[in-house]
Amino acid sequence: MAEEEDISHPSIDPTFYDLIVVGTGLPESIIAAASSAAGKSVLHLDSNSFYGSHFSSLPLDDFASFLQSQRNVSRTESPSSIAGAVAVSGDCISVDLKLRRLYSDIEICSHASPEVLAPSRKFSLDLSGPRVLFCADSTVDLMLKSGASHHIEFKSVDASFVYSGDGRLSSVPDSRASIFKDRSLGLTEKNQLMRFFKLVQEHIGSAASFGDEKEKNGRISEEDLESPFVEFLKKQRLPQKIKSYRSHCPYLFVNQVSNLIILYAIAMADYDQDNLEDCKNLLKTKDGIESLALYHSSVGRFPNALGALIYPIYGQGEIPQAFCRCAAVKGALYVLRMPVTALLIDKGSRHYKGVRLASGQDLFSHQLIVDPSFIVPSPSVLPLPDLLQESSESSSLREVKVKVARGVCITRHSIKPDLSNLLVVFPPRSLYSEQVTSIRALQLDSNLAVCPSGLFVLYLSALCDDTNQGKKLLHAAMDALFTVSISENPENSAAPVQSEGIEGEVKPSLLWSAMYIQELATDSSEAINSAPMPDGNLNYMNLLDATVKMFHNMYPEEGFFVETMASENIEDDGGLSD
């Protein structure tokens, strides 16, 4: 697929396409695949030597250097620096592209001897971690529908846990089977929790059979649906305190622990739902119920997936790659290691109409989509020479309000000795009183081919307003999970550093860690389609929604993966490896 390495940048033929996509992140790859499937001619470019851009999974060294490379990118503070140099040539105006700085405050620490981390290529670290797929989420549906699932295998995440104030991890009773197995729940608590889940299922079931009058009784009232989810939960008769959680959580204002588990570990709410001042995103009952329904339909969708969550073998970077393959199968042209230096604007229509490659070649297209790491000014605000006026008041096109702090940790021991792949949620205020967002951590082991055997990779993320807040969040979570052994010498690392202690007694020590703050922007230019960047969620559903919308904006007439695959053997194609 990829062109052979050639420093001299061979010229690309043809020079005109229906669509040119710059960057191979997940949204770009999906659009490329969908457009090819709809019969469009597509050119897909990436300046990197790998697929996936900011959605990629990289070897340890490459991961570090990719993040570091961002240091050279200037911050985009002043409006005047938005646009690059503008030049007119023929009937085109070319605008030099500028990179935006997506990552900042990168901290990489190694506590281990180099040989432990030496097989760098055996690591496959996600840039946008922690991420998982819900078995029943739209991304999985799309992969089945598009055939991308043929190129990936998944394994299930064994279990989910909630961090309780005293440092213990309580399992999340998220399904019938796990409620049954969870001995920390009292019998009546099991009954209450399960009845609540049934209520949700009934509601969803009755909503599905719309129009049937009889089914109405199972439904939650409209008034309730519009109310905050946290209020709705309080109205339910849910277990007041879950036994295992009874130990005091000094910072928690929530007195109903099952609400806490439902809100943060199943519905995956980001902000403290009990504290309206700090809460930037109050979950409505409607959305909460939808999240629960997604979770529940995920459990047991595939017979060999134990829980609701699955993770691709070899890392999340496999997913954009799979879509690229789908696109290539349908005739899309792929060129990696091909930087784009400028965008071309049609003089007359003032629309973007092409790209200038590093090789100097100009390529043209009806539609253009670019990677979120480029700053693309709207043609209307460009200080075009023939207008001879300085654009003064143009604000930053991407208003950056919220950031996401991400962390990657490598250890030699699992945070839960008997489990390897697991999700941990630190609800708001479970670590300290100013913790307003929940922190999610995903631990993976070598059976997912993301690290050498004997090691574990753990991803962390949390939404934050600024760098300090973000780092504090991640540091608190890391301190809760790991010990940082500063003085690790080579002899020490040869022998097992720790005995497999009883759960909670000995925390695994950190061998390597990286921490960085990623910008989050949602705004997109009208004139050009700038693909969304990785968000702060655990799955890709919001990104996928934005991507589908983008596709329909470009091609209102076309269906999104319509004729690719007959739907009958969708379930059989849900290939999960054992």
Partner: protein, 706 residues
């Protein structure tokens, strides 16, 4: 595998299945040809596998292959070829099972091949893992698993762990719970290391099943396991004697004629005998076998122990019965002295009495009583029961407090009906505690949700609790505290769950009977004097009147062995199972019930003393077979019909074969009075037949029989 809706066939599918059927018919015809001509060559075998791969249900083809394999193995000595033949069979079964997982023939064939040896059992387990992953509840696979596990000598503990894993994955799995109960029964019985004491293991099992019941009370599989556990807790392991007649310590007076001294004889201690015999009845807590003169010793002047014939009282031929009886012959008494002859009975001093579950009678016990004889009064020699017409009307029944008070000292014998037993207190403590815990838990569950099976379980627990408590205490010092609550729960269930109301009704009846009969005060309220106002004789009998109680079944017979006159009229009886235990019964009123067939009356055949029977106003003749039998014991276990001679009662007018069920019931009885009016069957011809079958009959439907 479950919950897939069936779609109607499309026209092209219909055509395809037509073609398939034609193909199958050809194959089948060829196979039958090969089968009949014993052709076992390769082509013929290939044909049969082709058929079986399309239609695994063709069991003739499986049988044909068995013959073919036998035939081909006979001429084969090379071990590799033998192996090849057998593994071809396994391959065929496997692909047949992939087509139809639930084919009995295919599974059976596989077992047959495996039993020949020479096959890898590990492969079978791998295959089972695949099948059980595809459908974790399929009972064929579970059956086969038990078979392979036994063949491979897989330890039961390992298999038990497998059930735990399956239950953890999805506890809605009857097969897994069932296998668990099977395995645990064995492990507990053999007292395998780690499965002793029994109480500890069962407590853990209760804990496990609670998780399932509370998580999802709507799922029934766990409830069935809980029922098994409850059975293990409440049901006594070892057989025990619970009551007898005559009672320990009683002084029995037997009259061969009618006693006329005006003294009311206690029904508990007096008995009229026409035949010169009196019964000795043993009532056990469960069905047992092996009651004979070697396991029960009766010391008396009447019979040599070795001559006594013990008979099980049952209406099926399983050989196990809860009630056993023998008849002691009275001596010819010439002198009129009231000499008391002592009788001693000892049970279980030698092994041999075994429950159907295989437990031995382990609490040797003995009891004694005396028998005195009332001389025959020559003047009124014919004054026993059945010498006067009994009229079952309320006016003839009297409660006379003074008389009852007179009687009540003798009714105290009632307290001794039961025989004291000594059970190890520690284990019985556990039983009581466990059941009490369960009661608390399920009350809690029912306070959360309204659930039918939860209510039923609570009712069962309360019944279980009462029966454990009454076991441990001396008789009647324990009051059945929960009876009323159980009755309310069951009435509630009848309304909530009308489709099973008959079951609840039966349970309700049993509890009600237990309540009435196990308490002396309550029982006395149902005891009446029968005295016909117009009668010139002093015909005093005590009648137990359990009429108008909406009973649908009879229970607690162990408390009623003494009853000679019983009124069960105006109930809702569909069955009278259990009545056979009342060997002294001479007058019985079953009128105005819902008995719908003569076979439902089978227990009457065992009542040798019965003289007066009222079965009027039932639904007799509406059905020829007792349909309630399908709910109780096996309908296939009839003891009757093998030994009768139709010609004996053949008449010119009535074809006896049309009334075989009537003849079966009545020909062994010596009724003097029968009321049968108001049934589907009573016409004149029928009455003629009755007169023929019952030569002793004096009154039929209130009229003299001439």
């Amino acid at each position: 595998m479950h919950g897939r809706p069936r779609k109607p066939l499309k026209p092209e599918e219909g055509a395809a299945s037509f073609a398939k059927a034609a193909n199958l018919r050809t194959l089948q015809a060829q196979l039958l040809h090969n089968h009949h001509h014993k052709i076992y060559i390769k082509d013929a075998l290939d044909l049969s596998s082709k058929l079986l791969e399309i239609n695994p249900e063709a069991y003739t083809a499986w049988n044909y292959r068995k013959l073919a394999v036998e035939h081909n193995l006979r001429s084969e000595t090379d071990p590799d070829s033998i192996k090849a033949i057998l593994s071809e069979e396994l391959r065929l079964v496997e692909s047949a099972l992939r087509r139809n997982f639930k084919s009995y023939g295919a599974w059976h064939h596989r077992k047959w091949v495996l039993s020949k040896g020479n096959s890898s059992l590990d492969h079978e387990f791998r295959l089972l893992d695949q099948f059980q992953k595809a459908d974790s509840r399929n009972f064929h696979a579970w059956n086969y698993r038990r078979f392979v596990a036994a063949l491979k000598n897989v330890s039961e503990e390992e298999e038990l762990k497998f059930t735990t894993d399956m239950i953890n994955t999805n506890f809605s799995n009857y097969s897994a719970w069932h296998n668990r109960s099977v395995l645990l029964s064995h492990l507990l019985k053999q007292r395998v290391q780690g499965y002793f004491p029994r109480e500890k293991v069962l407590t853990e099992e209760y804990d496990l099943v609670h998780q399932a019941l509370f998580t999802d009370p709507d799922d029934q599989s766990g409830w069935f396991y809980h029922l098994w556990l409850l059975d293990q807790t409440v049901k006594p392991d070892a057989p025990l004697l619970v009551s007898s007649w005559p009672v320990h310590g009683s002084d029995l007076i037997i009259s061969l004629g009618r006693n006329l001294d005006g003294r009311a004889l206690s029904p508990f201690t007096s008995f009229h005998s026409d035949t010169g015999e009196f019964p000795l009845i043993l009532y056990f807590n469960q069905a047992v076998e092996g009651v004979d003169s070697s396991t029960v010793t009766v010391e008396s002047v009447f019979d040599k122990n070795a001559d006594l014939m013990w008979r099980p009282l049952l209406t099926n031929n399983s050989g196990n019965a809860q009630v056993w009886v023998t008849y002691l012959k009275l001596p010819d008494v010439k002198d009129h002295s009231l000499k008391a002859y002592p009788v001693g009975v000892s049970i279980g001093h030698t092994q041999g009495i075994i429950s159907s579950g295989g437990s031995h009678y382990s609490h040797p016990s003995q009891f004694e009583f005396t028998v005195s004889l009332q001389p025959i009064d020559s003047e009124h020699a014919e004054r026993g029961p059945g010498t006067e017409m009994v009229v079952w009307k309320d006016g003839n029944f009297h409660t006379n407090k003074t008389i009852l008070q007179d009687v009540s000292p003798t009714i105290d014998y009632f307290d001794q009906l039961r025989i004291e037993k000594d059970i190890e207190p520690t284990t019985s403590m556990w039983h009581a505690k466990t059941v009490a815990n369960e009661i608390v838990l399920f009350r809690e569950l029912l306070s959360e949700i309204n659930c039918k099976i939860g209510k039923l379980t609570l009712a069962r627990l309360l019944i279980g609790h009462d029966s454990i408590m009454s076991y441990n205490k001396t008789p009647y010092s324990y009051k059945r505290v929960y009876s009323q609550e159980v009755l309310e729960l069951l009435s509630d269930l009848m309304k909530l769950d009308p489709s099973h109301s008959r079951y609840y009704k039966d349970e309700h009846s049993l509890v009600l009977m237990c309540q009435v009969t196990s308490n002396k005060e309550l029982l006395l309220r149902h005891c009446w004097y029968y005295k016909e106002s117009t009668s010139w004789s002093i015909h005093n009998s005590i009648c137990l009147r359990l009429n108008n109680l909406s009973l649908s079944r009879i229970g607690s017979v162990e408390n009623l062995l003494w009853v000679q006159m019983l009124d069960l009229s105006h109930n809702e009886l569909r069955s009278i199972e259990g009545l056979e235990g009342m060997q002294l019964l001479s007058c019985l009123n079953l009128s105005n019930n819902k008995l719908s067939s003569f076979t439902a009356l089978e227990p009457l055949r065992l009542l040798k003393s019965l003289k007066v029977l009222d079965i009027s106003y039932n639904e007799l003749g509406a059905h020829s077979i007792d349909t309630t039998r399908y709910l109780c014991s096996s309908p296939l276990s009839h003891t009757v019909g093998s030994d009768w001679d139709v010609d004996k009662c053949e008449t010119d007018d009535v074809k006896v074969t049309n009334y075989w069920d009537v003849v079966l019931i009545f020909r062994g009885l010596h009724l003097t009075q029968l009321d049968i009016v108001g049934n589907a069957i009573s016409d004149d011809k029928f009455k003629l037949l009755l007169a023929k079958v019952l030569p002793s009959l004096k009154w039929l439907d209130g009229e003299d029989v001439c």
